[in-house]
Amino acid sequence: MASWLIGGPAVLITSILSLKLAPTSRYSLSIVGIVRFSIFFPYQSFRGGLDVMGRALSWKPRLDPGLISYTTSLPQGAARIFFVNTISLLPGTLSADLLEDHVTIHTLDHTMPIRENIYKLENHVASLMRLSIPAQKKSSS
């Protein structure tokens, strides 16, 4: 019970602060998007874990890393932040920088279909937040 003395006010203050500091953008979540994402995400992160496991345990670690820059069409705010954070949990990709709409992605193996995977994730995030993004553009570095 004594822990409530510290915990209660702390939770209250952080909640008020974050409501005050966060940009006032409203997002509506789509139920279908949530269901699709909650199948897509665990499956992909499991694959990501297996991928890293295979590379770490193989006799000579199989790595062919590189940096990729990707331009996202998701709007600034919650959608973009969510997108950037989930990139790091997908197979072979890690978001290393975000500047405006340019995401720098580090990949363990640039022979993997990174752009396709990222675009798929972008689509999932968009449908999760009831946004629409343009069809995949071909390359651009």
């Binding site: 874990g49 770490a56 290393a96 920088d97």
Partner: protein
């Protein structure tokens, strides 16, 4: 109860090699970026398996919800800190290791 408990045990055992390989990757991989890959991905899957296993064994919905909440919070914390570490490494001009 018996089946639930045992499948929980199986899930926990499945989760352990992920933690192990995350740590092995941390030791064996050549640079900061690849090491981040190993830690975030493998450990998240490992923790996910263990949390699901414990949830099956918990026998109470409140405890299951708490366990899942812990997993989600760890996911958020680890992907955010992973991004921040990679970002500050890039800003310090640490070049990613390339295959020779």
């Amino acid at each position: 109860m018996g089946i639930l408990y045992n499948s929980g045990t199986v899930l926990i055992i499945v989760g352990l090699p992920f933690f192990l390989s995350g740590t092995i990757g941390l030791i064996r991989f050549p640079d900061i970026y690849t090491r981040l890959h190993a830690l975030t991905k493998a450990d998240n899957v490992g923790l996910g398996c263990i949390v699901c296993g414990l949830a099956l064994q918990s026998g109470s919905i409140a405890r299951t919800a708490k366990l899942l909440l812990i997993w989600v919070l760890v996911l958020i914390a680890s992907s955010a800190s992973c991004h921040l570490i990679a970002r500050s490494a890039l800003q310090k001009n640490i070049q990613p290791w390339m295959r020779p």
